[in-house]
Every structure is written in structure tokens, then in C-alpha cells.
Symmetry: D3
Subunit: 232 residues, 6 copies
Amino acid sequence: MNASAPREAAARDTPRIVVINPNSTVAVTRGIDEAIAPLRFADGPRIDCVTLAEGPPGIETQQHADAVVGPLCELIGREDHAASAFVIACFSDPGLHAAREATARPVFGIAHSAFLHALSLGTRFGVIAILPASVRRLRRYVRQVGLHEHFAASIPIGVGVSDLHGEGVAAQMQRAGRELIDAHGADVLIMGCAGMARYREALEQGLGVAVVDPCQAGVARALAAVRLHETT
Amino acid sequence: MNASAPREAAARDTPRIVVINPNSTVAVTRGIDEAIAPLRFADGPRIDCVTLAEGPPGIETQQHADAVVGPLCELIGREDHAASAFVIACFSDPGLHAAREATARPVFGIAHSAFLHALSLGTRFGVIAILPASVRRLRRYVRQVGLHEHFAASIPIGVGVSDLHGEGVAAQMQRAGRELIDAHGADVLIMGCAGMARYREALEQGLGVAVVDPCQAGVARALAAVRLHETT
Amino acid sequence: MNASAPREAAARDTPRIVVINPNSTVAVTRGIDEAIAPLRFADGPRIDCVTLAEGPPGIETQQHADAVVGPLCELIGREDHAASAFVIACFSDPGLHAAREATARPVFGIAHSAFLHALSLGTRFGVIAILPASVRRLRRYVRQVGLHEHFAASIPIGVGVSDLHGEGVAAQMQRAGRELIDAHGADVLIMGCAGMARYREALEQGLGVAVVDPCQAGVARALAAVRLHETT
Amino acid sequence: MNASAPREAAARDTPRIVVINPNSTVAVTRGIDEAIAPLRFADGPRIDCVTLAEGPPGIETQQHADAVVGPLCELIGREDHAASAFVIACFSDPGLHAAREATARPVFGIAHSAFLHALSLGTRFGVIAILPASVRRLRRYVRQVGLHEHFAASIPIGVGVSDLHGEGVAAQMQRAGRELIDAHGADVLIMGCAGMARYREALEQGLGVAVVDPCQAGVARALAAVRLHETT
Amino acid sequence: MNASAPREAAARDTPRIVVINPNSTVAVTRGIDEAIAPLRFADGPRIDCVTLAEGPPGIETQQHADAVVGPLCELIGREDHAASAFVIACFSDPGLHAAREATARPVFGIAHSAFLHALSLGTRFGVIAILPASVRRLRRYVRQVGLHEHFAASIPIGVGVSDLHGEGVAAQMQRAGRELIDAHGADVLIMGCAGMARYREALEQGLGVAVVDPCQAGVARALAAVRLHETT
Amino acid sequence: MNASAPREAAARDTPRIVVINPNSTVAVTRGIDEAIAPLRFADGPRIDCVTLAEGPPGIETQQHADAVVGPLCELIGREDHAASAFVIACFSDPGLHAAREATARPVFGIAHSAFLHALSLGTRFGVIAILPASVRRLRRYVRQVGLHEHFAASIPIGVGVSDLHGEGVAAQMQRAGRELIDAHGADVLIMGCAGMARYREALEQGLGVAVVDPCQAGVARALAAVRLHETT
């Protein structure tokens, strides 16, 4: 909690959640926008999904994740006067703690939000990841937030962001999910990438466990923060 | 996830969250109702707070907690046709897993919801409890949900449910919160009883850390579950 | 430790351990009675195994486990004047903490007793369970008592209480035990149901690891408590 | 479990538990003998407490603990033909695993037995220790057996074995126990030395929590092992 | 281990460890240079301490730590042809994993190195920190590397980098160290800032426990890596 | 840290690390000597590898490990006047804490040193062991030093010390390493025996992960201790 944050600051004329896609691929931002649509209410906060133009096409390495922190904080600075909360919509939660220093508005990362969200649906979460390079990065992050005892594993499907709409992707996600359940003991799954909500329902039906879209989890958390006047 | 739950079941004509106060004290139910008001939206789910008539005036022992499970499941059975989600609004989360067996609708307990909610605001939560008898019960529960490494301590203020509006209560909560922070390393606090949201703002200002009302956390979680068609 | 328990209370004229089978299947009670026979001594406490008439035929769900707590505590109340200790002889340890509130006599559950007993024979225990429905309940309980780091897994054999004497049961238990050892790293096993002591010796010989009957573990613990004047 | 141990080996003509005091102070052996008296039954195993003549007057260092392993294993070898179980009655559990290699009879250490025994009476054990030198050794051991999450602390009273009958000892134990409860959160205590059972009742009454004598815990465990034909 | 790193790459004509001070304060670099002098050998690797000109005067926030990653990786790129190993000499280990992506040479951070180094001298390390802002950042990092169970606490002395040579600093470090030992159970201490080796001896003598200078730990680790041809 | 150790004691006229092979097989000592050669510097400490004549040919049981403690401490006593540090070069770290009582010089065990060394190269270490009997002993030790969360598993190749130069050994080590990586999630390996450094390079190339020779790790740690005037 940022002590200098005036409580009233969060209660703006127009409550607004800014969801930042830190990669520069606009199609991903659109996918996020669709994913979080169920969390819009007639009299609820406006929810805007924006693209970080300075980001790489996809955040695939630790260098990518670290490189977006500066531009991300600058974007937050520019939006701060018209925002009630921020969501960092990349499954690496890049710059989460730097962003919390940069604004008095609450900031949530979609990965951490998804972990916590999943733990009210199951006891041990598995992550369907995109690329193998993310496996160790994710393991470090799960440990950093102290949830490694609840973490089954992450299994990459070996598909990059630009190919996420390809034909075989759904089947690969089913296979990865099945392995997370059978071989690693997961009883709830998280899709480890932004904007994949379209696969959620089919995965749940095929696998018989709850599946979490991290953007939905992050925005749901921000929604509560805005209505409850929370700070981070 | 209850495999037999038809997905469409959650999407009723009139989405509705039923918040059950498992003690029979109507004033507590009213406090809960006020607490969760910010989570009502014009086009959002209806949120009804109901009192379990068969419950004791307050749930103060393990025997109390176990005794309400039967009537609670019966109430859920009666409301099931007109509910999209249930929230058990007692900080012992009595009957949570029995209730999940009893209905295909998602069910959340306010204590577990509050733990997870708090962990996106801080890293180590302390609980301001009501009565000393709850200390060991809470410790067992925190371990059961696997979050003991994030648990600072719980400190009771020694006041029963019926006296929660007395003059000294606010000051006692400040003292308990201060001790949780200074002596136990808490960086986020949870009020360990239903319907105390009125104290939240003053505690946050006095103590400089985020304070979680568990009913708000539980209903926020149920709200997301209803909109995202989740099952537990 | 119940502070109000007069120390002399445990030292009755006729020391007596009451072992409660909380399901209503008398054959299970008889199996328990045979299992604990080696713990009877000429000048030791009398050990009586009783059936909870109000219980279901088998405790197979969380609802079952919660529903017996009331009748169980009432039975304890009726027996209290003539008991030195109680053992709850169901592998869910239903009502353990409620029972400890209900009497000044020491109360032990057979599951927790078996976990602790096993840990002096090995370092990582696996549980041969009866029905799949118990797997998640057991995992919650192992975490609640803080022994999850010592828990390999539980594997159900898919046989209900009434079929435990069938021909194939012994072989299924061997298979489950073998998998607990080979795939989950168990070096000591627990039979996750009351009254199966007859299978213990064959399992030990077939599998080469120690096998714990939980009723024996629970009664052994109660025996020590009676002789050492302990309270819980 | 020693695979080569013939099951019938434990069932001797005269069941007999050999309790070994690995220090050479006969007064300690006598204290152990008195402590475990309640665990003798008319038709139960004979329980003999013996002194390791080659041991030091007290085991106060890691070098002492390591030095007794050889003679201890030799003593076990000499007694093996007439023993059903062994108890190593020193709170360092010296040579426990070497002893288990040296005999097919079950062997228990009083410290590990006391930890497990205590965990059925409380959730977090504190140890009233004798000398400061034992503090780090004990911490290593608690971690080795994987129970550090249940360990509050050990507090030495600064009194050597030969002075354990002095006038101030009872008061010092009360003070150490009080600090373990109030400052370290212990809800059950263990007396960290052999043969102090005489202080148990007064400590329990003064402190209001259960107090475990480790020799009683170790012998109770061995008693069960003998009757249940267990091996380690 | 970077799979594409040719083993011979580490064995250059002139083995050389590059120690990077990621803040721009040259006095700190000089302090590091003095600290690591004992690790220079006549026929050992050359050890060069360099200053990251683009860094802030001191790394005091998460934003500072994240902002240096880019320039740090560029510096590594420039030095790569003439380096056998890199050490990042800031107690936040900024950019450690990005740097490991950026070079085939082994890279070590001084904080993680110090944690591991300390654990061969004691069992529970405390950190004497500089500024309060680092406390939560350090706690996250200790968890990320999975050593939180060995972490006592960090206590800041409230002095910035530029004032580290002031008169009262030595006494403040003694006080912080004393509190880490007495109130938090540390049995080994780490100085949580680069280039403070000059205080080490006095702290060890005053406090009676081992004290680790993190730059010494990091360079010692890199020295071994160079001689043993290790990659990270 | 041994409080009575005069700081200057470690800075002898001729700094010298004594590496003790506690088994009596001279060929092992020679293998150790070769392994640690890269850690000798022209102006660095002399490093002498010595054989404990009283040791067994190989330390294969807990009894072996305990039996060498006495002679080991005597050898340390004899060498103490001419030593700056000691390394116990057996993967059971026999007598480590007794040795630390016996001398004011720093003492390191190769197993613990290897664990810590490995954790700066990877996050989860697996151990290629020699004989099956060591598996449980190693698991106890990893827990004792509190690193079980970082421990994948140990897999024995079933070859005794005297056969370690046989033809098939390299292939067996590759197989064990592969299983540790694929089935147990190890991302760094340790060779669980002294003097096997000759296999290191081939294992790293074949398996694609870092491989640690424990003697190299132990001596590297001792080297730093000597240069930095550390005590244990």
C-alpha cells in the first residue's frame, strides 16, 4: 500500500481500469479485450485495453520482460490521471513492482492474479505455457510469490504468440492439460498467455477441471479493487 | 469442479449470488449486506444476504462450526434452483466442502477468499480475530489451505459478536493490527469476522496497510465466478 | 489440553478406552475390535469398540463426515463418565476437534495417529485408500496437520466398505501399495480404512515396507495417554 | 524395514524392550526406569533399562554423540538375542540409524518419538533443554526428521545432567516453558533430557499445556511395536 | 547452462573476471575492488571492477533495479570477448537472468552468492541492509531463490550509499546485527551492500558470528567457475 | 563460528588446506587430488589430500559413516597446527559437526558444499549416487541442511567404489543423469562420490546441464575461507 496515496484518488469521476498489453502485437490486445468483456457492467468501471507500442512482438525472454519495464512505467505515468487501476496483461507480470512504485493506483499482474484465482477453484495449479523458454522463468516467479507448493508444473505447447490461432493449438492445449493433470497432479489449470479465453470452455469440457484465463483473473481482481477503494 | 454440473446451469435467467450468514444473528447479516453493497451493479447479479435460522447466535467453537453444516446444506438445497453462486459468510468457512458436494453452483468461503484476496495486496497477512477460541481453529484452517507460510498470526480482541459496535472496539482493532504488523511482520490485514466493513477505512488510515473485509473478498470472488461461468 | 480437566479424572476406577466406529456398519466395528486385540493387557485399560448407530453405512463424502459430528459428540457425552480416552475410528478423523471440546478425556483420530505412527517407521507415507472420493479430502487433512511434506500420495482401490472382504481386494491393495512405493516414493504405507488389519502382514511381506493399520495406531496412542495421564 | 528380518524374530519367548542410556551416569538410568514404569503391564513386555558403560557422563557435544555409536551398536549386538525392541534413551538419538542397521529388532530414539508423540497433543512443540550447546544440534535434528515447521524453539536452562535434582531446576523449567509458550508459540512442550518425568505433572499444572517426557514417548512407541510386530 | 556455449570459450588466453558495479558511484567500485583483493592470485584470473556509467548513483528502488538491466546487458556484450565470467555487484542482483541470456560466460549475482556462501557458515542468515526500501524487495528475492526458510530477516540501518563512511555507521551495523541474532535467530550475517568489506572483521569480533561480504562471495564463486570451466 | 578461534590462527605462515578422504582407499585419494588440481595457485594455499588409514575401504553404511568420526577428529587434531582449513571428502559429510568442535580451523563437507555450489548453477539438483544404500542416508542429510525443496532425487548406479573405473560406468552415469533430468526435474547434477571429476565433462556434454564434482566444490569453498579468514 502506497502510504501517500490519497484514498479519494481511486474514486475518480470516471472509474477506469487500464489493461496494458506489454507486447506490441495488437491482435493480442484485441484477444484480451474480448476475454475481459464479461467483466464490464453498465455502471461499472470503463475497461480499456491498450498496447505498449515499445514492446517486442512477444515477451519470450527475461531480457524482453526487463526491457519493457521502462516504457511500461512511462505509459502508466501518462495514463495515471485518468486511471483507477492498472492490469499488466503479460503472463510474466513484467514490471509489476516497478509499476507499483510508479503510481498510487492499484496495479495487478495477470499471472499472480491467476494463481490466486485458481486456488479458490482447486488446490494445485498447472500452467499450459506457450514456449519452452518460459518454464524456468515461471518457476522462479511462482517461488517468488510463495506459491510453489501449489504449483504442479508448466508444460509448453511450443507455439509462438503469432500462431496461437492455428488449427492444432486446441488439441495441443488439451494434451498439455491432460499431462498436467495425470502426471503432475494438477486439479485446476491456467492458460499461460494473454488473450486465449476462447479456448477456455472447450478445455474445461475436455479435461473436466476448471481452467483460468489470466486476463479475466487480473481484471476481476482490479474490478474489486476499484469498487472497494483498494491500493497496492 | 463438479463434473456433472451443466455449464449452462450457472447462466440463469436472473443471476443471483446467495450470501449465507450461518449464525442466526440478523444484525450480522445486515452488516454483511452493507459491506458488499459496492459489488452490486445495475446489470450485475442480484446479491441476497440470508440468515441461517438454525445457526447459533455466533460461531465460536468447532462444535458450532460443525453443527451448522447440515442446515447450511439444506438451505443451499432449497435455494439452489434460484442461485448462481453461494458465499458462506462466516470466517470459519463452515461446511465449505460439504456445500460444494451439495450443489453444482460455485461456493466460496469468506475466509479462504480473504486470504487469497489479501495476497495480491501484501505478502504476509495477519488476522484481527474476535475471540481467543478461534486462534487454533484458524491456524488449522490456514494450514489446510496451504497458506501458512504467508500467515503472520491472528490476534483476538476478546469481543463477542454482539458487542462489535461498542465504543472501544475500533481502538482494540487498531492495537491488534499494530501488533500484527510490528511483532508478527504482517503487511496486510484481514478482519476475521463477517460484517465489519465499517472499520476498514479507519484501520487502513491508522495502520498504513491494506485491510481486507472477508465478505467483500468472498462476494467479489463469487461475482467473477458468475460472470465467468466458473464452477467449484 | 483442556485446562479445566482435573488430572485425576483420567485415572478412573476402571480405565477404559472407547473406540468409536462412526459408521453404522457393525462388521467394521468387529474388524476394529480384532485389529486392536494385541493392545489389550491383563492389567491394562479395557478397550471397547462401539458403533455409532446414527452414522451412515460408510463415511464416503465430506457431508457424511460432517453429519456424524453431532451424534458422535452426543455419544461421547453419554460415555464420558465411564471413559478414560476416546478413539475416533474413521480415516477421516470426523469431529476430532469438536470431540476434544466435548470432553476432558483425551481424544485421538486414527488417521492423524497413523500418520505420526508411520513416521517412526519411514520418512514418507503412502495411503492405500478405499474410494476415489477420499483423495482430495485426505490431501486437505494431511495439509491441515502439517505433514504434507511427508505424504507420498493416496491411491484408491475403488472398493466400498461392504466389499472389503472380496477375493480381489488383497491383490488390489498390493498393486496400490506397489505404485505408492515405486511411483510416489513411499517408504511406509498406511491402510486408509478402519478394520483392515488382517491384510497387514501379507502386504508387508509382499511389498517389503512397514504397513500401518490406523486403528492399531490410534489405540496404541490412546493406551499411552491413559497410562501417562495425558489430556488433549 | 529391514527386509531380512524374519517376522517371527520379534515374537520371542519373553518379549523384552531394552532401553539404553548411552551415557554412563547410572542415576540417569534409574530416572528413566522410574519414568517408564507406567508402561509396564503384567503380561506386557519386560522393560529393562541399561547403562552404556563406555558412554561419557553426559552427552553434551556432537563428538560425544558420535563417539557412543560404536559401543552402542556393540551393546545392541550383545543384547540382540534377548530383545524384542530397543530404545535409545538420549535426546540426541545418537546412533539411531546405525543401530537400525545393526539389528533386525525395531529401534526408536526418544527425541524423534517425543516429537511425534507431542504432535498428537499440540501443533507446535517447544523443548526445555539442558545445556546451550544442544540448541544447534537439536535444530539440525528437527530439520533432519522434517518437523521444523512444527518446532517452536528449544530453550536451555543451563544445568548439567548431574545438577538436575537441584532446588532451582523446577522453577527454571517453568520459566523456559513459559517463554516457549509466550514468545515462541509452543502449545505443547517436551523435556529435552532423559529421566525428568518427575517434573512433568508440576510443569503441566503450572503452564497449562501438555508436557512430554521423551523416555515415556519412546517406550510407548516401542511397546506398540512389540505388540504389533513392527520392524524399523 | 547455455547449451550453445563452447566449453573452450571460458578458457581464454587471459582468464578475466569482470565485476560490474551497476550504480554509477565510482567510490563504491573502489570499495568492491578492495574487498575482493584477497581473491587475486599471481596465476589466477585477472579481476577487473567496472562501473556502469548509465546506472543511478545508488540502486534504491525496483525501478532503479529494472532500469539498469538494459545498459548492464550492453556492457556485458561489449566485454564478452575479453571475459571469462561476470559478477553483478549490487545486492539486488539486477538483471542476473537477463545477463545469463546475454552471454555464454557464467554470471553470478552477489546477493544469491552471499546467501549460499553464508549457508556453509551458519544455518540462518540475517542481512544488515542499507535503506528500508530494500526490505520487501529482498524478501521477494530470497523467496525467488527458495531460501526463505533459512532467512532470519533484514534490518536496514537507514543510511544511503554516499554516507556509508560516516562515523556512526559501524555502531549502527553492530546494533542491526545484534538484533538479527537476538530477535530473529540469525547465526550468520550478510552485509547487504557492495563494498563494505572494511566493516567485516569488527562486526565478527563484536557479534561473535561469521559475517559475509557479498562481493567476496560473488567473486569467490566466479573464481571457482573460471577454474572449473563452469557455465550458468 | 568458534568464538575462541583467534582470527590470526587461520593466517599461518604456510596456508594449507587438508583434504581428508575418510575411506582407506588410496586410489580414491589420488582421484580427489586430480580433481582439485585446478584450484591450486602459485601463491595460493597448499592443498594436501590425505587418506584416513583407519577408515573402511568405502563408506557405504551409516555405521561406516559414524565409525570414522573418532579417527577423523584425531587426524584433524594431529594436522591442526599445520592447517588453515579442512575438507571432509566423502559424500556423507561424516563427522562434519564433530570436526567443527574439534578445531578452530574452518571445516567443510563436500556434500553440503556441492549442494550450495550447484544452486548457483541451477534450481533443482539431482545426485548420481554409487550404491542404493546411500539413498535414504542422503535424503536425511539433504533435509538436515534444509535444502530438500531443491532436491530432485538421487539415483544409484549400483557400482562400488572399487569398480568406478570400469567400462560401463560412464554410460550408467549418463542414464542416471538423464532420468534425474527427465523424470525428476533436475536442472543441475552432482556426482555423489569423491574423485569422479574425470566424468564431469562428458556428462555435461551428453546431458546438457551443469555437473558438479563435490570435491571441487568443497575445496573451492575452503579456498575462499582461507583467503577471507573465515571460521565455521
